[in-house]
């Protein structure tokens, strides 16, 4: 008999060492997430995967699965909390989806749809963040960074290049490029790097691809993010 915990009244089997989110996803139960990625160690920073466990809030991506846990996932209260987190991510950056090449393939946007975010509710900060188009094959639009650190982790752990890092604290935290000039062109990054493909939003973009797949025919136009098998998500 495998061990199980309960999520929204469903028994979820798990093996020792799995997190609550990993076990749920493996069992076909969607738990919203942005900074979590199956190939990387859990990070627990975006908090979009917050669940309620035995009455207390916890990030399901870092919470070890244990026998007998009682977990709430799709409740009105948690949807509201997640909606606010997504709204805060939107107002902190500049997300003008109609001109973003990632539109339709973007996880932040897809979560907005999933959680029925129709308005941003909070006052937008409209930060001033220049783009870096110095690299011949890649472009960096800092306006859309949600500070998930997936590119940081991928560049260090998979690509072995350490191209990206986060600098500053709190509201001043931002993505930086590890070169003397601070420009992407002066790093060893390649368009084939995992750091490039792992970005869940439209920050690290390959040049010359743009709108090859028309808006309206992209990943999350076909189905909501909750209905999309994990392996099929860009």
């Amino acid at each position: 008999m495998s061990k199980t915990f309960t999520m929204d009244e469903r028994e979820i089997p798990f093996v020792e060492g799995q997190t609550v989110m990993q076990a749920a996803l493996a069992d076909g139960v969607y738990v919203p997430h942005l900074c979590a990625h199956p190939e990387f160690k859990p990070h627990g920073s975006c908090r979009v995967c917050t669940v309620k466990v035995n009455g207390r809030h916890a990030a399901s991506c870092t919470l070890a699965a244990r026998e007998g846990l009682v977990v709430e996932n799709q409740t009105a209260e948690l949807r509201e909390l997640r909606r606010e987190l997504v709204q805060l991510l939107f107002v902190e950056g500049n997300h003008f989806c109609p001109s973003c090449e990632k539109s339709g393939d973007c996880k932040l946007q897809a979560l907005g749809y999933e959680l029925e975010v129709k308005t941003l509710h909070f006052t937008q900060l409209f930060p001033d963040r220049p783009v870096d188009a110095s690299h011949p094959d890649l472009m960096l639009d800092f306006n859309r960074c949600i500070l998930c650190e997936l590119c940081v982790r991928a560049s260090a752990e998979v690509d072995g290049r350490h191209v990206f890092a986060l600098s500053g604290r709190g509201i001043d935290k931002h993505l930086i490029v590890n070169s003397e000039s601070g420009r992407l062109a002066d790093t060893s990054i390649a368009a084939t790097d995992t750091a490039v493909s792992v970005c869940p939003v439209g920050v690290i973009l390959k040049k010359g691809r743009g709108f090859r797949v028309p808006i309206g025919q992209r990943t999350y136009d076909a189905a909501p993010i909750s209905a999309m098998p994990e392996g099929k998500k860009p």
């Binding site: 129709k118 941003l120 509710h121 136009d221």
Partner: protein, 174 residues
């Protein structure tokens, strides 16, 4: 014989928008005939009525980029029982808000060589604002523009007295 049902009064306007949302409304195609059986248009670019009377519903396209936009928006809020932010620009400033990190004077002088100064011209605001920065909004229809089917879904739900609900494919930000 029961008295004929009163038609709902609807006003629409385009502030700092491109009229794309109004075009999307016209994209409901022949359903517009059905709509006109149920609603009567007050102030709207489609009627050319200049001021808004008391209305059941106001649809606002576009954000706020100048003082006139703010006056019109306040008139709409005063006269409309339910006010809806239609499209990206009304909801988050949209394309016009892409100037928000630039200096207005520099913007104007780089385009016109001077700051245009004519009493006919409304004063530009230093930042472009979404409309909920200035008035309370009852409902938002995202999209650039919102799909015609989203507008239709909203209108039919509203007219029938249901809480409007947009399913997958009708909430779009692009």
């Amino acid at each position: 014989m029961s008295a004929p049902k009163r038609k709902l009064k609807v006003a629409t306007t385009s502030l700092a928008g491109c009229f794309g949302c109004h075009m999307s409304l016209l994209d409901i195609d022949e359903r517009i005939l059905k709509l006109l059986e149920l609603v009567e248009l007050d102030r709207s670019p489609l009627t050319d009525i200049k001021h808004c009377g008391p209305c059941d519903l106001g649809l606002v396209e576009g954000g706020l980029c100048n003082a006139e936009n703010v006056h019109v928006l306040r008139e709409f809020r005063k006269q409309c029982k339910v006010l809806v932010a239609v499209g990206a620009c009304a909801i988050n400033g949209g394309l016009p808000a892409q100037r928000n990190h630039l200096d207005v004077r520099e913007c104007l002088t780089s385009v016109y060589r001077t700051v245009p100064n004519d009493p006919e011209l409304p004063l530009p605001l230093d930042h472009v604002h979404p409309i909920n920065d200035v008035v309370r909004i009852d409902y938002s229809l995202p999209g650039c523009p919102p799909p015609a089917d989203a507008l239709w879904q909203f209108l039919t739900d509203f007219i029938a007295g249901r809480t409007p609900s947009l399913g997958h494919g009708l909430i779009h930000y692009d």
